[in-house]
Amino acid sequence: MIEVVMPQMGESIVEGTLTRWLKKPGDKVERDEPLFEISTDKVDTEIPAPTAGVLAEVLVNEGDTVAIKTVVAKIDEGGSAAAPAKEEAKAAEPAPVKEDPAPPAPPKPAAAAPAPQPAPAAPAAPVASQPAPEPAPAEAQPAVDADEVTGPLSPLVRKMAREYNIELGQVRGTGAGGRITKQDLEAYMAAQGARTMAGPPAPAPAAAPASAPAPAAKAAEPAAPAPRAAAPQQKVEPMSIMRQKIAEHMVMSKRTSAHVTTVHRVDMTKIAKIRDRAKEEFKNRYGFGLTFLPFVTSAAVDALRAFPIVNASIEGTNVLYHGAINIGIAVALDGGLIVPVIKNADEKNITGLQRSIADLAARARSKQLKPDEVSGGTFSLTNFGSFGSLFATPVINQPQVGILGIGSVTKEPVVVADAIAIRSMMYLALTFDHRLIDGALADQFCQKIKDLLENWSDQVI
């Protein structure tokens, strides 16, 4: 077995990122044939196989960065069958199949995890009866090529091989006389990942019996990848590009800003009345409805003008005050969201804002936005109220320093001048970056918005 190591691509280089495997375990490789790709700084390098044989084992995943000289793969020069079974499995395995029901040895136990293989004797009892004495049908075993397999197979191993469609010729037996054990199969499946497990129902081999010693079951659970096979209803699918972008952006934002959310309650009764009066005519005249959103946007724009630090970004140790007020509006899409931007929102009246909002939202949903329509925002709004949320704690859209979450407008009993009145109430939740903005200023900013909305001066739109 030849070990393939992360090469040193230069004097000052101490590690490399493995970007892509060009071969899979079990593949034949020729000497000097490209085996994997690594990347350091601006350089992408193809690494050839040092020897011919069969790629037996891959020890580093795509995307992982490891120190130079780390063993990343093993090539079996014999070149016959690949043997992804792990050394650890062998070492830890006590004896033939029915005595060791312990979960498979994980390919790479997390450092912190307790040794996944408990004392071999401990868990033996509960599952001793596990290998159901199913008569192995001599025929109808498409996946098992008996000729390639040395030693007898237990009924359990035959059953598993059939159900997971494993070619037993590919599995190295570590049991007595080289016979293939359940652990060998599980280690093989773990090494193969989910690839080989498409389809067939699983017999839940890894589901520890209730009587199993608790610590053993627990220890094995997080580390062992094999239990994936135990839940046939699970499926793995890649995240969409948009999902990946959102995931990265959200975590990056949380890592970047000191998020604090402050919530203010706003009486929207006056706005609700104006809206009710204008709604019908608005629809007829412009072809789109009138919502609360342009009112809140307009009030937020005025507040941003009064508190320019909320319409800013942090650049190193500088504060960048944006000249323009460009408002991003989060729009929910199937499986994601996008934040189109109303440029120079301070130049627009309610009608103009509503038109922009309707237009951007419609084009966001039909994927017609241009790149400069989703960039350049200086502050964002998110209207989760349209989904019934009262208030939430939105995540800042970097590199901005604030986002205003708009809750739903609901009629509530409210104390007004020592009497109980029915008012249209709304919560505004401002998440701000406490690196730049302190609570007092954030609350003044919110009070400004509240004041503008509650005392809306224009009766007509």
């Binding site: 230069g10 000052s12 601006k42 350089v43 992408d44 990946q244 952006h249 241009k370 790149p371």
Partner: protein, 228 residues
């Protein structure tokens, strides 16, 4: 002194240039040819390196296509970048076994040769800890802007891909991407107020390349003469 043949391919599509490089890399690996330096200018194209993050491409292929910009995946290091008219794109096909088996050193040497070439036009290029490539400090703001981007592929120590230097590139095309995954601006010689022709810049780059890598640069005419 070893010879490096210079080939001026002129305006050529990205895919065609890539084909050409692959062919030369194979020949270079077999030692059938000396080191090569390809000089090209591309039709507008956005290329994704191996380390490209999807969020650094700001527009889908359809919008790029409408703007007349192609989209290609390249097996080079680095993040997303843009190539287009007005940019000198240089693809060295070198066997680093004959020089130094050190990819970082190779990137630093490319930077050195670009910095040397820029100096001939009175432009102070510099390296930055932010990212590889060559940067120029903008006079008004003092912020660094990238003038030359680097992305390399190495196979058995033979290099391909290379670097792109903005002469009078239409910088607005960079707005479709986050170049190299960075928010720093890009800049060109023209934007710096330097009026230099593509031929002048190529000459300077080739000259500096030869002195940095200790290669005798065989420019097109001499290549022609050597063919019997």
């Amino acid at each position: 002194m070893r010879v490096c043949e210079v080939q001026e391919l002129g305006r050529i599509g990205w895919a065609a240039a890539y084909q050409k490089q692959r062919q030369l890399v194979e020949q270079r690996k077999r030692n059938e040819i000396p080191d090569q330096l390809l000089l090209v200018e591309h039709d507008p194209v956005v290329t994704l390196g191996r380390n490209s993050k999807p969020q650094n491409l700001l527009a889908p292929a359809s919008i790029l296509a409408r703007a007349g910009i192609g989209l290609e995946e390249a097996n080079r290091g680095g993040d997303v970048t843009y190539h287009g008219p007005g940019q000198l794109v240089v693809y060295p096909v070198l066997n680093l076994n004959d020089w130094k088996r050190d990819v970082h050193h190779y990137v630093r040497a490319i930077e050195e040769c670009v910095i040397g070439a820029l100096a001939e036009f009175g432009v102070a290029g510099e390296r930055s800890a932010i990212n590889s490539g060559v940067w120029v400090k903008q006079r008004q703001t003092g912020t660094l802007a990238k003038i030359c981007a680097i992305g390399i592929h190495v196979s058995r120590w033979v290099t391909s891909h290379g670097f792109a230097l903005n002469i009078d590139t239409d910088l607005s095309h960079f707005r479709y991407i986050v170049p190299c995954g960075l928010t720093q601006p890009v800049i060109s010689l023209a934007r710096l107020g330097v009026q230099a022709s593509r031929a002048q810049v190529s000459d300077a780059v080739v000259r500096n390349f030869g002195s940095v890598f200790q290669l005798q640069m065989a420019v097109p005419e001499t290549v022609g003469e050597r063919i019997p």
